[in-house]
């Protein structure tokens, strides 16, 4: 299987005045197409930094990152925006749905930035919402949806552009156990349909849902799940 994500010896150093902090210290990670990987780690381990680099929200200080064969480690913000739009679907802990828009419009948002015509947007967004079981609620605003439904709308938004990789950052962190189960089952189904998923979590039970687990600690990765 071809590797979608290929991170080689990535370092990330933050400098605040004279203080330097090495958040990532030589990370090497490869995620194959169709794989479901969970990244776990305690807070302060560099988990968020890795997630930002994986999501092309930030670039590494050192090392290379090939996403779908494209080197994204030295790209400008303008080009990164395009990569995020085409290749990555984000699922956030806080959902990050825009409160003033309906679920439908929220899901259309990435298509809008991709420049898709309105009719295509409507169809694709509708299909994505139906896929996550929100076909009846397309015209509800986030405030009118439950936490689980909001997270499913968020997954629909991540799916709608048909990205190379779905990046889920603590997707169950704000959900009750029923909704957590719902969302995890949905991710599982998506994986079964061949989606590549990277899940970031600090909960072991959630991490065990994935096919493969890696752990980050003090800015370095180890394979497997260490309790």
């Amino acid at each position: 299987m071809t590797a979608i994500v290929e991170i080689t010896d990535v370092h990330k150093t933050y400098r605040t005045g004279s203080i330097t902090f090495e958040a990532l210290r030589g990370i090497t990670l490869s995620v194959a197409e169709g794989e479901y990987v969970a990244i776990t780690g305690p807070s302060g381990s560099g988990k968020s930094t890795l997630m930002n680099i994986l999501g092309c929200l930030d670039i590494p200080t050192e090392g290379s990152y090939l996403l779908g064969g494209e080197d994204v480690s030295t790209m400008s913000e303008k080009d990164l925006a395009l990569v995020r739009n085409r290749r990555i679907g984000f699922v956030f802990q806080q959902f990050n749905l825009l409160a003033s828009m309906t679920a439908q419009r929220n899901v259309e948002l990435p298509l809008m930035y991709a420049g898709a015509p309105a009719s295509d947007r409507h169809t694709l967004a509708r299909e994505a919402l139906e896929r996550v079981g929100l076909g009846e609620r397309t015209h509800h605003k986030p405030g009118e949806l439950s936490g689980g439904q909001q997270q499913r709308a968020c997954i629909a938004r991540a799916l709608v552009t048909n990205p190379d990789i779905i990046l889920a950052d603590e997707p169950t962190g704000n959900l009750d156990s029923v909704s957590t189960h719902e969302v995890l089952r949905l991710l599982h189904e998506l994986h079964d349909q061949g989606r590549t998923i990277v899940l970031i979590t600090h909960e072991h039970e959630v991490a065990l849902e994935a096919q493969r687990q890696v752990q980050i600690y003090d800015g370095q990765l180890t394979e497997g799940l260490h309790v």
């Binding site: 925006a81 806080q94 003033s100």
Partner: protein
């Protein structure tokens, strides 16, 4: 993302914070409305001045006796030393010379005018009016017409006939309104005059109420009303230049003729040639300056309004850091974010401006009724006001939009 979609996004952002947007727009609204009102009042003033010119007769030139410089000068000694220049009065001969087409080709009509104020009687009805002694050319020079009856002729003028053409107000006062007055008689200075015509209504002009007047032949005036021994003396000579372009040439010809007639030098004239148009233009330019000044003051409130827009946009960017971060994560390029906030700011400006224009128009209507003075709000002023409010919005939005565009997506998303 098309521009239309950006506009829609901005519109929904403006609408989702109604109270705040309304208050922000208020600053622009007040500024635009006050500028529009000020300019409207100024344009109204210009317009009414222009109509005053038309009432006076177009291209009117006036010759008065006495030089402008013959004013009282007090000396340092304290004793009043009135250095009054001896002035030769204007005469009918001067008028005849000015009417000479060879020396004054640009002067179309000449009307010597003598005026006084007296009381006219019709039985028990009486009215104080101005009495004008002149020639038939007067009607042409002052652009007056008769609505009933006729004007007197040159023959009547030189013969000193006891005929009069009267203004509408005078006619109403003496004979009652709605009465046909042509052929009726009235008493002026102990003499019975026959009314042969009624003048058109002009209302108040710069030279007084044009409807409260009695116009009689110059010869008659000289015999009955002249105060000096020389019956040829007139108080003013009115002239009409051929057209607007020949006005200054006509003034020059009149001045030269008067030098010769009165045998004086340009250094020590004993008469004054002026044109009403020049006076009116001076008044008009004063009105323009005043309008500009007041608009400038009103424009300061626009500046304050613009600062308000900028302030609220900065607050908005700070508040919506997460939204900006999300949009960036979903693939919005910095340019798109910049454009979104710019459009939002210019929308605040433009909407405030449009409401300001509406308020300006309504307030202009009410004001012009209240002070019975025209307030003219032109299409050009309206478009300019809208353009200005748009520009204010854009300028006020540049910095906040740039800040939003520059935000790093991770910083924006981290904010929790």
């Amino acid at each position: 993302m098309t521009f239309l979609e950006t506009v829609r996004t901005a519109f929904s952002a403006v609408m989702s914070r109604k109270m705040r947007s309304a208050l922000t727009m208020l600053g622009i609204l007040i500024g635009i409305a006050s500028v529009m009102l000020t300019v409207g009042l100024g344009q109204g003033a210009q317009e009414s001045i222009t109509s005053q010119i038309n009432k006076l007769g177009s291209n009117l030139i006036i010759v008065n006796s006495g030089a402008n410089s013959s004013l009282t000068v007090s000396n340092a000694g304290g004793a009043a030393n009135n250095r009054t220049r001896f002035t030769t009065p204007l005469t009918l001969n001067d008028a005849a010379a000015l009417a000479d087409k060879d020396t004054c080709p640009d002067i179309l009509h000449v009307a010597p005018v003598s005026t006084t104020t007296t009381t006219a009687y019709n039985g028990t009805s009486s009215g104080s009016t101005s009495v004008v002694g002149t020639t038939p050319d007067w009607a042409d020079v002052t652009a007056r017409t008769v609505t009933s009856g006729r004007f007197f002729t040159n023959v009547e003028s030189s013969a000193g006939s006891l005929v009069a053409v009267i203004g509408q107000t005078t006619a109403d006062t003496l004979f009652g309104s709605g009465t046909y007055v042509v052929g009726r008689t009235m008493t002026l200075s102990g003499q019975s005059f026959t009314v042969i015509g009624v003048l058109n209504t002009v209302g108040t002009t710069l030279s007084g109420n044009g409807d409260e007047t009695i116009v009689i032949p110059a010869g008659t005036y000289a015999q009955r009303f002249a105060t000096t021994t020389n019956m040829n003396t007139v108080s003013t000579i009115l002239m009409e230049a051929k057209d607007k372009d020949s006005l200054s040439a006509a003034i020059q010809e009149a001045t030269n003729t008067m030098y010769v007639m009165h045998n004086v030098t340009p250094a020590a004239p004993d008469f004054t040639v002026s044109s009403q148009q020049a006076l009116v233009e001076t008044v008009g330019s004063l009105a323009t300056i005043l309008t500009a000044l007041l608009s400038g003051i009103a424009a300061i409130s626009l500046l304050v309004g613009g600062i308000g827009v900028m302030n609220i946009m900065l607050v908005s960017v700070t508040e919506r850091i997460r939204e900006i971060g999300l949009r960036k994560a979903l693939g919005a390029r910095p340019r798109i974010i910049m454009l979104q906030f710019l459009v939002e700011a210019s929308m605040l400006g433009l909407m405030g401006g449009a409401l300001g224009v509406a308020l300006g128009i309504v307030a202009g209507q009410i004001l012009s009724k209240a002070i019975s003075y025209p307030v003219i709000i032109s299409f050009a002023a309206t478009s300019l006001a809208l353009a200005v409010s748009l520009v204010i919005g854009i300028v006020a939005g540049v910095y906040p939009a740039w800040r939003a565009a520059k935000l790093a997506p991770i910083d924006a998303l981290r904010n929790e």
